[in-house]
Amino acid sequence: MFKYSQAEKIKYLLSLISFSFIFVTALPNTYLLQIADTNKVQPKDTLSRQLSDSVIYKKENFSSEELIRGERLFYGLVYLGDKSINCEACHNTHVSDTLNWNPDALEISRKYLDKNAYYLSKVLLKPLGTKMKQVHKGFQLTVQDIVLIKAYMNKFVGIGLKKNKPIITNLLLLIIASFLFLLSSVDIVIRKVYKSQRINWAILTVMGIVITWILAVNAISFGRAKGYSPAQPIKFSHAVHAGQNKTDCNYCHYTARSSKTAGIPPASICLNCHFLVRNGTRSGATEIAKVLKAYDDKKPVEWVRIYKLPDFVFFSHEQHVSAGEITCDACHGNVKEMNRLYQVPDLSMGWCINCHKTRKVNLSNEYYKTYYSDYYESFKAGKIDSVVIAGIGGRDCGKCHY
């Protein structure tokens, strides 16, 4: 494994002995004193303060070997006792496009950046939350190792989570196709390699189609964000709230019925429930604590916007939800099953118009009875079975663009 210098070995041994001594004597006291939010509350008794102030936890300079060991510990590559502990299995180090309930490495490192490793050791070795108790059970980490894990995680604060490399199949394909296209063109002009020009023409045709197809597909999807699913500052799950707990969409997005915008709920709305509900079954206290903190600090949560129309489109939720009586899932998909929200339609004009061409108007509204009386009478007389939105001017440009 790793090689340590003699001096280091002695240093670690000594610290290990002293730590285990203090640990054994201090254990009962500290355990009793622990409160729900271990990270906020300073240890009260002198002994644990001594502990948190202890030199071991305050170590700041690390050699590269130490940092590598920290990293290996984090990725579960160090065999410790009877089982290996893999932090990365639960705490992401990559940007993820699916919801991971557990805080990622960046979040943890941010949380413990200004605190010494004592606090981290407490969460690792004697966790309080139900979930953490289960998964952190039986951890056999030494204080030194915890210090090193923290040291490794600190690097995320500077650089952020690792990003997944983009898949470049399309681009590669485009380059290859263009290259072949160019070769054939050159060959046609100079006429040297192939005797039969048919091959060249065939290549030109096929590659032309491929290039056009790639360009067209990509150009159409330019600026559109179907499937866009960014990570949010709080791991809020619509599946839990709207799905399992059956909260009505309009409870949180309470302006959808009466305003242009559906509205992102203010923190005070969250507090209606989370004033009491402080522990999630899966996320524990971490995520809920964020909204509580936002409320206490009077600092709004900065959500990443997913559904966004260009400035020259005027869309009104009131028009669609209240007047048009359409359900939320017609546009937003089955939000009740989404842990992490993503954009379901591509929000293209074609998508809007398709709906306007097929959806029926409720002609029994007094407004339509008055101004579209001709349609209403025919409808009542059974001459027509319905009128679609396009029939009442739903395809006029100026209804949405002004």
Partner: protein, 990 residues
């Protein structure tokens, strides 16, 4: 049919179309005459570089869309729904201007002002200045916080220091003077009274830059009441006005326009207006008879009218000097409309006003059309008081001067006396909210809120109370003037509480509806107004005591007309800029003057005859005393007079307004204690220099074709289609190749009654505010690039030396056979199922074919990036700072901000149509009457614009459309516009 001409040049060269003004070559690109901006030459290389760069930028920009955040409230305010507007009733007070208003706010930002229809004074009307006042709120040129000796300071320390200094002055028995404009807020008056009590030996002086002190003094002598009476133009059948521009700027123009237009119904009754004036004003333009006079002739004309009236009514006779104009007709009219007429004069000479009072008294108008029990409180300052103050200052008798909202270092005729006296004042404190020529000389700046950030009340007319409430938290570290005074007085309560207490103590008892003062205040606040007068029948007039000895015709001096000085300058205020308070408002600066159609400047208007005499042309620069001014040859300007607008040439007011036009305040004179707005001159000096105006009208030449149809009332009474005979002919002969389209469900339309429209330009600014119309600046206006969606065309008819004037608001006509739609290659402009001509900006790529094919020239092209909405850099044209983040707060989020390279035009306020339709659907009902109002129709003070659904047979719109007066602009082209005009009917003296 009459021949119409648009300006003198075109009258002369109507046959030669080739004479259309050519802009000289050097002006075409990148430069402007007389401007210091360097002419830059763009080479082909630069062009290619720019192309390459912009392509790269746009390509890169489109690759990755920006991550946008959605930031909700932490705790949402109860009354607010994000994305929906909230309305507050309030009052507009700016110096002497008053209007009862409703403020539209979106997400906490006031973005639009509407008139409060409940008000008994302004009755839902506004003026261009009121409409534009919302932009003043977002002016980064305002003071950002308290200052001491030009350096930013803190309120706490500044308060302590000032209170200490004021108390020292009181102990030393010194004099503290508070200088304000006329204050007509009862609560503010009470606060000032408290301040005067606390600091013994202090004085309060009111000073109005454009004062009516001659009138006040005359009324004191004639009627024993030093007030401006309540003129009731709605009750008058005849108005004779001597240079009083009561439809434009005189006293309370919004109120008077409402009243006057209510009496301009050809179908029912028609008020007659006779205007005798030197400058061609809006009122003169709307007069049934306009007589050009020199100001010096006014006394003798009045005296002759007086003589005629006395002869008939009292059977007396006396000798008068010869009258320069024939007054027999006017006198005959006045006598026949006895008790139902109004004689007014804009003169600033006390004797003239005394004579006017005497005529009104003789005619029995007092108590009928001129009421003294509900007098106007907005103008009460006397010039003599200001004069006395300055004398005291010069003698070192003033130890502290507190100034609020007046700017004597700019507006006082003898400004050196003021600034000289100021040096002898120990303590100078300014309470004004924005920098001006006066307070830059001051030690302490304690800035006031903007009125949209303030609490206040007002009693503009006696027993007509209204409240002002904040619609936004104060943007800068400012404090309301009344709060500052309260603080210095040692009071612990806020001005808001003070107002509430004042209303509970003093006004609560005037009503019986509410017994709870909180309820009373809150409900009044909601309505914005409190008018116990209407409920208590105050209109029963007790005639004021009149002193018939007050006027002695024998002693009346008609002035010396024979003197050497033959040229008279008549100073006036423009509709937009007034005395210069809102000079830093780009909307107002870019608003073309209703008559001259020049914006961003003032000038010397001279009559064509005088110009010929002195061999002057348009744009020549002349020298009058010490002041150099460009010449504008104005048809209808009285011969021998020069009209010059005050309020220009501001030196300190903010980015957009400084050094615009020429400052002429120092040319004013004081006569018998009152400042007069006329000055006599020997001659005009031609300097040989030239100057270029930004004038909008010459670009809208209709080349001699008549669009405004006119008739006289007598003709109209016999034939409803008088003057509009062409309409029937066109209806019969127009044929189209296209299949006629029908709009069975909604068909939006508009009617504009040219009999009512006064050309006041309120609608232009209302449209600009509602529809995010950009400001382009003087150069761009000169290059025919102005962007107003609604313009008011002005045509002259008749003799060029004595023309009649007609106004015609022109906006997109929403033609059913629209010529613009056929030529758009990308269908960016097309017709909606509700009869609207739609303009889709995101589809437009700027061929301007539509602009070329529009016979009404109502389409506007974004030549540059005026709004900062474009993505490409380098094309921003914004000298006026309209794209600063603060200024952009005024933008309406319901209307797209147009980028460079697209055409835009009037949309019939489609955002309002959509919102009202949605509300009806939501509430499961049909639309209510007049529920949909466009920005221009809603606040029109003359009720000249009516919007509605042409399919709604019961609507006001349909009544107008079915009238014999209805016609369409250029109807011979068969474009079938949705905008209808109604023939202009004049009530001429037959």
């Amino acid at each position: 049919m009459k021949k119409y001409w648009k300006d003198i040049k075109s009258k002369k060269s109507q046959e030669k179309i080739s004479d259309i003004k050519k802009v000289s070559d050097e002006n075409v690109f990148f430069g402007f005459l007389g401007d210091e901006e360097k002419i830059t030459h763009a080479s082909r290389r630069d062009f290619l570089k720019l192309c390459g760069f912009s392509f790269a930028v746009s390509a890169l920009a489109s690759c990755q869309s920006k991550i946008s955040k959605a930031v909700p409230y932490v705790i949402a305010p109860v009354e607010m729904t994000p994305g929906m507007p909230l309305y507050y009733s309030s009052s507009y007070i700016n110096g002497n201007d008053y209007c009862s208003i409703i403020v539209k706010t979106r997400d906490g930002r006031p973005i639009k002002i509407e008139g409060n229809p409940g008000s008994g004074i302004t009755m839902g009307g506004t003026s261009a200045r009121v409409q534009a006042s919302v932009l003043d709120l977002y002016d980064s040129g305002r003071f950002h916080g308290p200052m001491k000796d030009g350096k930013p300071s803190e309120w706490e320390s500044i308060d302590k220091e000032i209170i200490g200094k004021l108390q020292d002055i009181v102990e030393e028995k010194g004099r503290i003077v508070l200088l304000t404009p006329t204050v007509f807020s009862p609560s503010t008056e009470a606060v000032i009274a408290g301040f005067l009590r606390k600091f013994k030996g202090s004085e309060w002086v009111q000073y109005d830059a454009i004062s009516y002190s001659a009138m006040l003094e005359a009324n004191k002598i004639s009627f024993g009441k030093q007030v401006i009476p309540d003129f009731r133009f709605d009750k008058a059948d005849l108005v004779v006005s001597f240079g009083a521009d009561f439809l434009g700027t005189w006293l309370s123009p919004v109120e008077y326009t409402k009243q006057f237009s209510s009496g301009r119904n050809p179908e029912h009754e028609m008020t007659r207006l006779i205007q005798l004036e030197s400058n061609l004003t809006i009122t003169g333009s709307n007069a049934d008879k306009r007589i050009q006079i020199k100001p010096s002739q006014e006394p003798s004309i009045l005296l002759n009218i007086y003589k005629e009236i006395v002869k008939v009514l009292e059977n007396r006779n006396f000798n008068t000097p010869a009258c320069p104009v024939d007054v027999s007709e006017i006198s005959k009219n006045l006598i026949s409309f006895k008790g139902k007429s109004i004689v007014i004069s804009g003169s600033k000479v006390k004797e003239v006003q005394l004579l006017v009072n005497e005529i009104n008294r003789l005619l029995g108008n007092i108590g009928q059309t001129i009421l003294f029990n509900s007098f106007l409180r907005t103008h009460a300052a006397l010039d003599s008081q200001m004069k006395m103050l300055i004398e005291k200052m010069q003698r070192g008798m003033v130890n502290a001067l507190l100034v609020w909202n007046v700017n004597p270092a700019y507006t006082w005729y003898n400004r050196d006396a003021f600034t000289g006296g100021l040096k002898k004042v120990g303590l100078t404190i300014s309470l004004s909210g924005s920098p001006d020529e006066t307070n830059t000389l001051f030690q302490f700046i304690c800035p006031d809120h903007h009125y949209l950030e303030s609490w206040n009340d007002a009693e503009a007319k006696r027993e007509h109370f209204s409240l002002m409430q904040p619609t936004i938290n104060h943007i800068f570290d400012t404090r309301q003037m009344a709060d500052t005074l309260l603080k210095w007085t040692g009071s612990t309560i806020s001005f808001y509480d003070f107002i509430k207490d004042y209303w509970a103590d003093n006004l609560m008892s005037r009503q019986s509806e509410f017994t709870d003062p909180v309820m009373f205040f809150d409900r009044t606040l909601q309505k914005g107004i409190f008018e116990p007068a209407s409920s208590k029948g105050l209109s029963v007039e007790k005639l004021p005591k009149t002193d018939s000895l007050a006027f002695n015709p024998a002693a009346f001096k008609t002035g010396d007309n024979s003197g050497k000085k033959s040229i008279e300058i008549v100073f006036y205020e423009t509709v937009a800029i007034g005395e210069g308070r809102q000079a830093n408002n780009p909307w107002l600066q870019e608003l073309p003057d209703p008559v001259t159609k020049i914006c961003w400047d003032n000038y010397a208007s001279i009559s064509p005859l005088l110009a010929k005499e002195y061999n002057l042309n348009d744009n020549d620069v002349i020298k009058l005393e010490e002041v150099e001014l460009p010449v504008h040859i104005q048809a209808g300007q009285a011969y021998g007079t020069i009209g010059i607008a005050l309020g220009y040439g501001r030196l300190k007011c903010g980015k957009a307004g400084e050094n615009i036009g020429t400052d002429v305040w120092p040319m004013l004179l004081s006569e018998n204690g009152n400042i007069v707005h006329t000055v006599k001159l020997d001659h005009i000096v031609k300097t040989g220099k030239t100057y270029t105006f930004a004038q909008t009208q010459t670009h809208h030449s209709m080349e001699g074709r008549a669009f405004v149809r006119e008739a006289d009332l007598s003709e109209f009474r016999n034939n409803q289609a008088a003057g509009n005979e062409l309409h029937a002919y066109n209806l019969e002969h127009n044929k189209s190749l296209y299949k006629e389209r029908t709009y069975p469900h909604h068909h939006w339309g508009m009617a504009i009654d040219l009999s009512k429209c006064t050309g006041c330009a309120n609608c232009v600014i209302a449209c600009q505010a509602e529809n995010n119309v950009p400001v382009v600046g003087k150069e761009e206006v000169h290059r025919v690039h102005e962007m107003h969606w609604l313009r008011i065309d002005r045509y002259y008819t008749g003799d060029e030396d004595d023309p009649e004037v007609v106004f015609q608001p022109v906006l997109c006509q929403h033609c059913q056979n629209a010529p613009c739609e056929n030529v758009c290659p990308v269908a960016a402009t097309n017709h909606s199922s509700e009869g609207l001509n739609q303009m889709i900006y995101n589809r437009c790529f700027g061929t301007r074919y539509c602009n070329n094919n529009c016979p009404y020239k109502v389409r506007r092209f974004n030549w540059f990036n005026y709004s900062a909405a474009g993505t490409l850099t380098g094309n921003l044209r914004d000298k006026e700072g309209m794209t600063e983040n603060l200024r952009r707060m005024v933008l309406n989020p319901d209307v797209t901000i147009r980028a460079q390279g697209v055409i835009e035009k009037c949309s019939f306020c489609v955002q309002r149509i959509q919102a009202a339709k949605l509300k009806a659907k939501y509430e499961n009902r049909a639309l209510m009457e007049n529920e949909i109002q466009t920005a221009c129709s809603q606040s029109c003070p003359a009720n000249a614009i009516v919007f509605g659904d042409m399919n709604d047979l019961k609507s006001e719109l349909n009544r107008l459309i079915n009238s014999g007066r209805r016609y369409n602009l250029l109807e011979e082209l068969f474009t079938m516009p949705s905008v209808n005009y109604l023939t202009r009917i004049k009530n001429k003296i037959v």
